[in-house]
């Protein structure tokens, strides 16, 4: 990396006046972005600003340089010695960036985040320095022995340690009310993989007994239960444990008909999941926004720049083109054409990134890596995961779109 060619001070961080060329200079470094996207980004809330992705093709990005990242205050403090923080929150509010105009969401974000400009080497060093500092977790660290560039390993370990050390931010206990053994087994395995403790019962009466016996954070309820069905079960659960004080109720349905969602919500359910269950959809529905299929704030930021009608158009275009883009990936896989796979996956990823569609973006990136490496092993599974979230993602996009179309 040539540190002299792009010293950090050369970039005047006036986003209101920034030129395309300047944006290109601060576009995230390809490799770090790849490293970040799988874990570090979500766990530390570092993220390259996505506006760049919409303006420039990632392949044309310089191999060495700046990242514009959004980080928590805590992260900004950690990195302060090594990076240039672009003003405190108050200053950002005083000079709103064009893609981050003041809004209820933005106002919330400015209280706990900073905009940072950082290059790859410094970020790596800062992360390592941070690891040598005392931490709340007394679990000990093995990071000192890591080679400097092994960010993937850092990411992996940090992810695991964060998960172990962090206080639970998502519901822990799930009451699974499903009578069909296959559905029950698959749902239970997925839930346990996601870190939940699961109690499985087969019908409404067993569910009521279980709820009286032990606290459940979420009831995952098959709509088509024998006897008392999911709708009636929800009404009776809500009579005894009203919304707000009782568990969240998430329906499982294989129907996925228009109006089903409204029927579920009308019955008092908080959300619904279509079968066959996708582990990503399950994680997204049961947990916090960290698992969201679509990051609404990403769309919000973009909307602040291009306006609501353009966002609606963009969402429509994505939903319309999704099958074509996925078919291109599928076709490349069928032909075992790694180069085409890489390109097709890259296109899908770029489109998904633009709208903050995280799961699709993550799997597309992995597909792109496989295409790049020439090894297609595991690619069908990745494509299967993308397929598995399509319906829920489309519904979620539709929900977000509605907020911009009125």
């Amino acid at each position: 990396m040539n540190m002299n060619r792009h010293p950090m001070k050369t970039i005047e961080f006036e986003m209101n006046n920034i030129t395309s060329q300047q944006l290109k200079q601060i576009y995230p470094l390809n490799q770090l972005r790849k490293d970040l996207i799988d874990g570090l980004m979500s766990n530390l809330r570092i993220r390259p600003y996505r506006c760049g992705e919409m303006l420039f093709d990632i392949d044309d990005s310089p191999e060495d340089y700046f990242y514009v990242i959004e980080g928590s205050v805590e992260l900004a403090d950690r990195l302060r010695r090594s990076v240039q923080a672009i003003g405190p929150a108050e200053e950002q509010q005083a000079q709103p960036l064009p893609y981050m105009a003041p809004s209820p969401h933005r106002a919330r974000a400015t209280t706990d985040s900073r905009i940072l400009l950082v290059n790859r080497r410094e970020l790596l060093e800062a992360l390592k320095q941070n690891e040598s500092a005392p931490r709340r977790s007394a679990a000990g660290s093995h990071w000192d022995n890591l080679p400097p560039d092994d960010l993937s390993e850092i990411t992996r370990r940090r992810t695991a340690e964060n998960r172990a050390a962090a206080p639970p931010t998502r519901p822990e206990r799930v009451l699974l009310v499903v009578d069909h053994p296959t559905d029950a087994a698959i749902a239970q395995m997925m839930l346990e993989r996601l870190g939940y403790r699961v109690t499985w019962v087969r019908n409404f009466h067993e569910a009521m007994e279980a709820l009286a016996r032990e606290r459940s954070d979420v009831v995952l309820l098959d709509v088509q239960l024998p006897g008392v069905d999911g709708f009636e079960a929800t009404r009776r659960i809500r009579e005894r444990w009203p919304a707000g004080s009782g568990p969240r109720i998430v329906a499982l349905t294989a129907r996925a008909l228009k109006g089903d969602r409204e029927a579920c919500l009308a019955a008092g359910m908080d959300d619904y999941i279509s079968k066959p269950i996708s582990i990503h959809v399950l994680g997204a529905k049961l947990s916090s926004e960290n698992w969201a299929l679509v990051e609404a704030p990403v769309i919000k930021r973009f909307a602040d720049v291009i306006g609501p009608s353009s966002i609606v158009q963009l969402i429509d275009t994505f939903v319309t083109n999704w099958p074509t883009m996925v078919d291109a990936v599928r076709g490349a896989l069928d032909q075992k054409d790694a180069l085409t796979l890489r390109k097709a996956a890259h296109s899908l990823k770029a489109a998904a990134d633009t709208l903050g569609i995280r799961v699709v973006s993550g799997y597309s990136l992995k597909l792109e890596h496989l295409g790049q490496s020439g090894s297609l092993e595991g690619a069908p599974a990745l494509l299967g995961q993308i397929d598995s979230v399509r319906q829920e993602t489309t519904v979620e996009l539709g929900r977000i779109r509605a907020g911009y179309s009125s």
């Binding site: 069909h180 296959t182 559905d183 087994a185 698959i186 993989r193 066959p276 996708s278 595991g378 299967g384």
Partner: protein
């Protein structure tokens, strides 16, 4: 062709669905799920036939629904679509010939079981 398989309509399993399931719950658990399906589907088929023969459309709908769920997980998309038709027909009362419809699906279920046994055997050999 194995003579014992000759009467089975071929049921293709979408490898992507199984691969996605591998990814979600682990390959060893997928084998367990396949075993569960192999163990439960014959009984469900009997229930389906009994319900159809007695004109119990609610029963047809319920069992078809559960079978459809199994088919979706293992990528038996064609059979899944047939079961959805059966389920919808039973739900709306527009199933003209329930027994014949169920017989048609039943033959495909043989194909499904055969295909799943194949997957099971391949995985057992690979393990």
């Amino acid at each position: 062709m194995n003579p014992s398989n000759a009467a089975y309509p071929e049921v293709a399993l979408d490898a992507r669905a199984l691969a996605a399931l591998d990814d979600a719950i682990g390959a060893e658990n997928v084998v367990m799920i396949i075993d569960t399906i192999l163990g439960s589907v014959p009984a469900m088929r009997r229930q389906l036939r009994t319900a159809a023969a007695s004109g119990n459309l609610s029963g047809v709908r319920h069992v078809a629904h559960q079978l459809r769920s199994d088919c979706a997980y293992v990528g038996a998309t064609e059979l899944c679509a047939r079961l959805q038709q059966l389920e919808s027909g039973a739900e709306t009362g527009r199933l003209a010939q329930p027994v014949a419809e169920v017989d048609g699906v039943s033959a495909m279920i043989d194909g499904l079981l055969n295909a799943l046994r194949g997957v099971r055997n391949v995985r057992a050999l690979a393990a």
